[in-house]
């Protein structure tokens, strides 16, 4: 039996999710427990993306408070110390959420394979990149996926790369109504509206913006990952809230509001990276 702190002798048990481009096949979520823990730390346990995950997978808040930075830090530390064992519940939640996204992608054909990498996106706006295993699954548009990692952000800033818009950083830059904060009228929003406006739309925008940000000076492709999805998503007039809701309900007739509260892994592996 696993304790709340986890059993250091048993590393995180890796599971699989449906492969969005290969019907019936499963693909392991991350290569090993170390990668899985790093992913949870950098995406599920780092602001602002953790807030988005809490909307994608509402059961998140039963594990920890995404608004409590100390709690998130302690969770990540404990995961590292216990070889990921203590983070099994969060990982399982991740598996359940990503599995649903993969299912959406397969159904809507929001999936593209360039031979090296398979990119897919679900109706919550989670982007999956698969290279043999699921290499990453992040909520797109919640800050640069690379800069999500504090360490990487510092490295990028040291190298002179602008990550925030410097011209609008003065005076009232510390706007209480920053992009992640909640406005008063949002209290009237349903969970689906919050998911659409706060998570899905920014994800679609990131994918569409990638069109001109993945090409070199002469138009050659530089980065072929989530930019692959650009041509697959409907036009903006076909992705209004009502359109999205329809797609969402078509993909998830049993659970229109999101993934189940009690996620069940798709398959169990021995944690060595092999199914």
């Amino acid at each position: 039996m696993r304790t709340a702190e986890g059993d250091a002798r048993t590393p995180l048990q890796l599971n699989a999710v449906p492969h969005p481009a290969r019907g019936g096949a499963a693909v392991q979520l991350f290569a090993d427990w170390q990668t899985a823990c790093a992913h949870l730390r950098d995406h599920w346990l780092t602001a602002p993306e953790c807030q988005a995950w809490a909307l994608v997978a509402p059961a998140y808040t039963s594990l920890l408070d995404p608004g409590d930075a100390d709690a998130r830090y302690r969770y990540a530390e404990q995961a590292r110390i216990t070889a990921g064992s203590s983070a099994q519940p969060l990982y399982d939640l991740c598996v359940a959420a990503v599995a649903l996204e993969a299912g959406d992608a397969a159904r809507l054909q929001w999936v593209q394979d360039d031979g090296r990498v398979t990119a897919a996106m679900g109706t919550s706006g989670v982007v999956l990149l698969i290279e043999g295993v699921v290499r990453t699954a992040f909520v797109a548009g919640q800050g640069d996926p690379q800069a999500t990692k504090d360490g990487q952000r510092r490295r990028l800033e040291r190298r002179g790369l602008p990550r925030e818009r410097p011209l609008r950083s003065g005076g009232h830059g510390g706007d209480p109504h920053g992009p992640q904060s909640r406005r008063p009228w949002e209290d009237k929003w349903s969970a689906e509206e919050r998911l659409y406006y706060r998570v899905f739309r920014p994800a679609v925008q990131l994918v569409k913006r990638a069109q001109h940000r993945s090409r070199d000076m002469r138009g050659g492709i530089v980065r072929a990952d989530y930019a692959l999805l650009k041509g697959l998503l409907p036009t903006r007039s076909r992705l209004k809230y009502e359109d999205w809701l329809e797609l969402r309900r078509a993909c998830r007739p049993e659970s229109p509001s999101g993934p189940p509260q009690d996620p069940r892994p798709a398959a169990v592996t021995d944690g060595t990276g092999k199914n």
Binding site: G160, L167, G171, K208, M217
Partner: protein, 379 residues
């Protein structure tokens, strides 16, 4: 009508890669979000400076766009909503928005980005960084233009932003990585912008500067700016090259004539003497059409000294004996011979040494010179 913001000679534009519709769709989405985040009505608290900034910047940005693109993307409603919001409240929103402008921060970030390019940089990071800086400055300029129109101005901020724009135009090559994005923006801009709205046209000048830089860079890459030399000059250079090549070849062959055969002083090991390890010098020539190969193996030291008979062997491209060449006369280093059975021409080592000539090989009655193959030590 002229198209000041479109450069058809740029490779990406020529290949149809920049997509104005995609870029404008992003701006419309951002405006839609900004209007939503701004809230249903303007109050003392809402919209905040950032939302006000987005509303002003994006409404102005979309006014620069070809109207047909807005219609195609069904974005007329968003523009109308933005207009309605600014009616009556515009000056207040402009005051809030101007408060967040920080030109010094932009300038510092741009200089740091420029310095970062001195080291190898991930290409996608470079593109992202360049686009972010351009888009950030564009939004700022548009906010200023919109604020001016609403009767709100801040001289210090205006001067600061002008400094940023000057820096960008003077360092346009720093932003080359964003070229495809810049081309997409150019495709989206209405060509009659200058006559329609001079203030907004001024905000688009930086894109013209960036496009100029992209054109210059691509011309450098393709050498398009290099004028062809006059034929007489080219012929003169070619003649000089041939002359120099022949001179160097003569020097080389003269040096080779002294060294291509094993030296006489080396003795042949005899009975009761210390054995000398025999090596070989291998020389090869190929026919001008590449169909035939000749090979001469010279033992070093030669077991019979200058009395050693060498065999110049001829092969075809598949390394079969060159039966077709049997009977052809050959001249090697001035020594005459004939290709005999099995494609071999016997030549005496002493005779080759006696001429003192370089190993130039001529084959056939018309004495066609074959090319000496120079090989490295491991070949």
């Amino acid at each position: 009508m002229s198209e000041p913001y479109i450069r058809h000679n740029l490779a990406a534009t020529r290949d149809g890669i920049p997509d104005a519709v995609a870029e404008v769709a992003c701006w419309l989405d951002r405006l839609e979000d900004a209007l939503r985040d701004a809230g249903p009505e303007v109050t003392a608290e809402s919209p905040g400076p950032q939302e006000a900034y987005d509303c002003l910047a994006l409404a102005a940005k979309l006014k620069r766009v070809r109207p047909e693109l807005i219609e195609e993307l069904e974005g007329v409603e968003e523009l109308q909503r933005a207009g309605a919001m600014l009616d009556g409240n515009g000056a207040e929103l402009a005051r809030r928005a101007l408060g967040v402008l920080n030109p010094d921060a932009w300038l510092e970030a741009a200089r740091e980005f420029d310095r970062a390019l001195d080291e190898p940089l991930d290409e996608s990071e470079e593109i992202e960084g360049a686009v972010e800086l351009i888009e950030d400055l564009d939004d700022g300029e548009l906010v200023l233009a919109a604020a001016r129109r609403l009767g709100v101005a801040d001289a210090d901020v205006e001067t600061g932003v002008e400094r940023c724009v000057d820096w960008l135009c003077q360092h346009a090559d720093v932003f080359l990585a964003a070229s495809v994005y810049v081309q997409a923006v150019g495709l989206a801009l209405r060509p009659d912008l200058e006559s329609q709205d001079y203030d907004l046209a001024a905000t688009a000048l930086k894109f013209a500067a960036l496009l100029d830089a992209a054109e210059a860079a691509e011309a450098d890459l393709t050498l398009a700016h290099v004028q062809p030399l006059p034929t007489a000059v080219v012929q003169g250079l070619y003649d000089k090259y041939v002359e120099e090549r022949e001179r160097l070849r003569a020097v080389f062959l003269a040096a080779l004539a002294l060294k291509w055969l094993p030296p006489l002083r080396r003795r042949v090991a005899g009975r009761g003497e210390e054995a000398v390890q025999t090596e070989a010098r291998v020389w090869e020539w190929s026919s001008p059409d590449g169909q035939w190969l000749a090979r001469l193996v010279v033992p070093d030291p030669p077991p019979r000294g200058d009395e050693e008979m060498l065999s110049l062997a001829f092969f075809d491209a598949a390394h079969r004996e060159a039966a077709d060449l049997v009977g052809r006369p050959v001249v090697l280093a001035g020594v005459e011979g004939t290709v005999g059975q099995r494609g071999r021409a016997p030549l005496a080592l002493g005779a080759l040494r006696a001429t003192g000539e370089a190993p130039r090989l001529y084959v056939g009655t018309d004495r066609v010179e074959w090319e000496l193959q120079m090989k490295g030590p491991d070949e």
